[in-house]
């Protein structure tokens, strides 16, 4: 209609966007509000990769420190969640690598713990397991199979099925194109089913 539209104020940012903007400029209180509301989710993500409480807590802590340091470089406030998920995932992966190196030096990994850090196979499926699982047993089987997946498979399943993040945001969190995120999700789902079959 006219050139005025170009200079009018942009639409009011959402509350989160405003918090990100403030935190990016050094507003510590805004940062605390931002990350406090995401603590459980980030911890859950870290746990999905590391599969234990202590490491997940450490990784979450490291991730939040990294987020505070890196936040001034986050350009798009709307991408905060994907960006934070990515930092958490990377922190957990780094922690995992560090942990594996330590284990290789200090102790001989147990037979079932592969050099690539795969957790030992889960026990507990009785040989007389009925073929027709009821739902509760299915849930257990899914949990056991989940623990046997690779970390990037657990991560994407958690983001999609637990955190209900849209694939586009998952792609941002993983730093991959949307199409790649879709394929990884499919592959992780299939790997889970294969792990369940092995378990059974």
């Amino acid at each position: 209609v006219d050139g005025l539209a170009a200079t009018t104020e942009r639409p009011a940012a959402s509350t989160d966007d405003a918090l990100v903007q403030r935190a990016r400029k050094g507003d510590a209180a805004a940062f605390d509000v931002l990350v406090a509301s995401r603590l459980d989710r980030c911890y859950r993500l870290a746990w999905s990769i590391l599969l234990n409480d202590a490491d997940a807590a450490d990784a979450t802590q490291e991730a939040f420190v990294a987020a505070w340091r890196q936040l001034p470089r986050l350009r798009d406030a709307r991408a905060f969640d994907g960006w934070l998920n990515r930092i958490v995932a990377n922190a957990a992966r780094m922690s995992r690598r560090h942990r594996i190196r330590l284990r290789e030096v200090q102790v001989r990994p147990v037979a079932a713990e592969a050099a690539d850090g795969e957790p030992p196979e889960q026990q507990g499926v009785p040989p007389d397991m009925p073929s027709d699982f009821d739902r509760v047993l299915d849930a257990d089987a899914i949990g056991r199979a989940f623990d046997r997946l690779r970390d990037h498979e657990r991560l994407i399943l958690t983001l999609h099925y637990v955190e209900e993040r849209p694939v586009a945001e998952i792609a941002t969190a993983l730093g991959v194109p949307v199409g790649t995120a879709k394929w990884r999700l499919h592959a992780a789902r299939r790997a889970l089913e294969q792990a369940m079959e092995v378990d059974a």
């Binding site: 509301s37 992966r93 949990g143 637990v162």
Partner: protein, 807 residues
């Protein structure tokens, strides 16, 4: 052996049960302490520097850092006091969700289209009323006559008593329920933690009927305040949810300010004014601080019951219209400043909810048949007034629209939750193309590239030339391919489940088919590789998967490494051979001819310059372009729910779509410049750039929430004749991972749907379209001609490949 595959529903439930719900109680203290120490480390040198440095910029920065440090200390105090307020973004009732309602004293839910009615709660000897969905998507609260409040935990299905009292409202940001105690206190109950706080007396006087009027307590969108009607004098007041402090927004004049509703930005409150506690007199809009009060009048009759639209642009309300002694309420909408009033429905009962895209409103219609009050639930589409009835039980009462977590275990539903938006009857159903005869193609088809598994690595790329050989290109640091598969493609329909990958890479293919990028997850680096396997550049120690400019002349990345550390600007571009590598102020968006690019700077200024990033100059405050015209003379951007066009210098800005109710989320310019595809909600449109032609292509061509999410993009064929739209399979359900591709022909706009198809990729000459689909336990690549016919499987056994055409 368990042969049954878990459904999405079972998987979600099982994983939620398997993973921890909450972080350890002491983790936040540890995090806050560590982060605060980090802040002090950053802030202290700057404070010292500020004492000795006369540079005003440095002083200003130091002041900010000092303030940040002080805020951090203050925050730690809050933590120590246990006053930290955890919250989550609140979803608005949306295109996906459930109706909760009461029927004969029992609690029911139904899907968004009114079907799949399920009874979820029955209490012997007690009639349940007033269902309320929690904003955290985990609870459904319901009232008993006792009075007591029961909560249905949507995760476990457990129905438990939450408190004695009367339901008011859930906080929009967490699992806090505001309610009235039997003694008339306003109380807040954190249902997850079992913590209760009393905010103060409501001044309830049961003899006067308070607080039964209106919504009583209405949370502000940020969850920090509650609006309510003072039970003594009828004034509109705000109550601070943290302290209980009251502020009078509007003092009572005639009688009472009822049913307040907050604008989405929490800046204004609309409320009904009743003259004698039973007669509506009109509705008013006031600033949250009580300033700027305006009365919205209606010639149809006194206006009441305002409900703000999700984007704040409209208010729906009731016009109490009298014909003699018969009142027939009319459903109206109006701008918040009183302009642009429109009548939607001549006779209705109550407003149930706006759809989240703001394009429709659910409402009830009542009629009295004998003693039983019966009602219908309708949904009206605002743009054209089309209206439909939802098949909910006609004796349903107390309707509440909500957005519970997908696949809610307690309800036992694993439903495809349809859109609340109204389908337009003019939609022509897509034509399913007939299966084509196997056609392996010939050399003129070119070549397809896809991921190939080699041992434990999926970092190999297979390039299959139609009518020719299969070439396996190894990753830059990988061993040569072993046991290359045979060149001949498998039989159509054959499939093989791929092996799990030990090493994983990501690929992007240059649009001109000349090269591709390989990003190694293990090495956190990427390289550019030619189709012959020659490494053109790299490895670069960045984590991102790079993107290509439209003609493949440039590669861009965010310049971030695995730890999240980024280059100073946050954006790098270079030639595919690694030359001319330099930073840009932001992520570039190129024109089709690559002669122009735009980036957004930190202040929201759009910078436009040459295709190499030279000569960048600010042209005004714009969002990043959604797309450029092919020649770079204009760009289209999305703002305020519409698509706008501007010249490259920022001049001649005009609104292309002009939708009454906005809802635009993306725009894509055709390569020939004749059309701009626009997504509004789940509806795809095509516009001519001058706005003279506006064609609706179809609905349900995207999901604003759930499913794949909104980021998929339609792809124009190189000759602009066809638009390929990847979208959720409408039959697969929210959160499903099945997709279809709909092809729409430009000009006559006929549509063809390819079921079970993902990732459409046009051949370089535009004559063919490749898609990937699932088959058995694996994936296959299909090729059709440009019109979607002759669909033929050309490769099988693909390990989740990116699929691209190469030269």
């Amino acid at each position: 052996m368990n042969e049954r595959r878990p459904t999405d529903f079972e998987l979600a439930v099982a994983l939620r049960a398997h993973l921890p719900v909450r972080a350890p109680a002491d983790l936040w203290d540890a995090v806050a302490t560590t982060v605060a120490e980090t802040r002090q480390q950053r802030a202290w040198p700057s404070i010292v520097g500020a004492l000795t440095d006369a540079d005003p910029m440095v002083r200003r920065r130091s002041t900010l850092l000092v303030a940040a440090a002080l805020l951090a200390v203050a925050f730690l105090g809050l933590v120590a006091a246990g006053a930290l307020h955890l919250w989550q973004p609140a979803p608005f009732p949306g295109a996906h969700g459930l109706f909760a309602f009461v029927r004969q004293g029992d609690l029911y839910v139904a899907s968004a289209d009114g079907r799949d009615v399920v009874r979820v709660a029955h209490v012997d000897g007690s009639d349940l009323t007033t269902p309320r969905w929690s904003a955290d998507r985990r609870w459904l609260a319901v009232q008993t006559p006792e009075p007591a409040i029961l909560g249905l935990d949507l995760r476990s299905g457990e129905l438990r008593r939450l408190a004695a009292g009367t339901i008011s409202a859930w906080s929009p940001v967490d699992a806090t329920l505001a309610y009235y105690t039997p003694g008339g206190d306003i109380a807040l109950l954190d249902v997850e933690r079992g913590q209760e706080r009393v905010l103060g007396q409501e001044h309830a006087d049961p003899d006067q009927g308070y607080p039964t009027y209106g919504g009583v307590l209405v949370w502000s969108p940020d969850g920090r305040q509650l609006a309510m009607t003072d039970a003594i004098d009828g004034a509109l007041v705000r109550v601070d949810a943290a302290t209980g402090a009251r502020t009078t927004v509007v003092a009572s004049t005639t009688c009472c300010a009822f049913r307040p509703t907050w604008s989405p930005d929490a800046g204004r409150i609309a409320y009904s004014v009743w003259s004698e506690r039973s007669v509506p007199a009109g509705f008013w809009v006031a600033g949250a601080d009580g300033t700027g009060i305006i009365e919205v009048r209606d010639a149809e009759g006194p206006a009441s019951d305002p409900v703000w639209s999700p984007d704040g642009a409209w208010i729906a309300y009731r016009a109490n219209h009298w014909e003699g002694e018969v009142r027939t309420d009319r459903l109206m909408i109006v701008r918040p400043d009183g302009r642009d009033r429109r009548r939607l429905v001549d006779r209705f009962g109550d407003i149930v909810a706006w759809s989240s895209d703001g394009l429709g409103i659910a409402y009830t219609v009542r009629d009295n048949e004998g003693d039983a009050e019966r009602r219908e639930v309708h949904v009206i589409r605002l743009a054209d007034g089309s209206d439909r009835v939802l098949p909910l039980p006609r004796d349903a009462t107390d309707l509440a629209w909500g957005l519970p977590a997908q696949n809610t275990p307690a309800i036992g539903l694993d439903l495809p939750l349809p859109s609340l938006t109204v389908p337009v009857t003019s939609d022509e159903p897509p034509v399913q193309p007939a299966s084509g005869q196997p056609a392996r193609g010939d050399a003129s088809w070119g070549a397809l590239a896809f991921r190939v598994q080699q041992g434990e690595s999926d970092c190999y790329v297979g390039i299959q030339r139609f009518g020719g050989a299969l070439t396996i290109v190894p990753p830059p640091d990988g061993p040569p391919p072993r046991n290359p598969p045979e060149a001949a493609p498998p039989e159509p329909g054959a499939s093989a489940a791929p092996q799990p990958a030990g090493e994983s890479c990501d690929f992007t293919f240059a649009p001109d088919g000349s090269a591709f990028s390989v990003t190694s997850q293990a090495h956190q680096s990427f390289s550019i590789v030619g189709n012959d396997g020659v490494v053109l550049s790299g490895p670069f120690p960045w984590h991102d998967v790079p993107t290509w400019s439209p003609a493949g002349s440039w590669v861009s990345t965010s310049g971030c490494d695995a730890a999240g550390a980024c280059s100073a600007s946050g954006s790098m571009i270079m030639r595919p051979d690694g030359s001319d590598r330099h930073e840009l102020p932001g992520r570039p968006v190129w024109s089709g001819d690559e002669q122009t690019l735009a980036v957004l700077d930190r202040d929201g200024q759009l910078l436009v310059g040459g295709g190499d990033g030279s000569g960048l100059r600010p042209i005004g405050v714009f969002p990043l372009p959604a797309a450029w015209a092919p020649d770079g003379s204009e760009f289209v951007f999305v703002r305020d729910g519409d698509a706008w066009i501007a010249r490259a210098d920022g001049s001649q800005v005009h609104n292309l779509t002009g939708f009454d109710l906005g809802g635009v989320t993306g725009a894509w310019w055709s390569p020939d410049g004749r059309w701009i595809a626009v997504l509004q909600g789940t509806t795809m449109w095509a516009f001519s750039p001058d706005g003279s032609v506006q064609q609706r292509l179809g609905s349900h061509l995207g999901h604003p929430a759930g499913g794949w999410g909104p980021e998929w993009a339609p792809v124009w064929s190189p000759d602009s004749a066809w638009l390929a739209i990847e979208h959720d399979d409408p039959n697969a359900g929210v959160g499903g991972t099945q997709a279809d591709v709909t092809l729409v022909h430009a000009g006559d706009w006929r549509a063809v749907r390819l079921a079970n198809a993902w990732q459409p990729a046009w051949s370089l000459d535009g004559r063919h379209l490749a898609v990937v689909s699932s088959s058995g336990g694996g994936y296959v690549a299909d090729v059709t001609d440009a019109s979607g016919s002759g669909r033929t499987t050309v490769f099988a056994g693909l390990p989740y490949p990116p699929l691209g055409w190469v030269d």
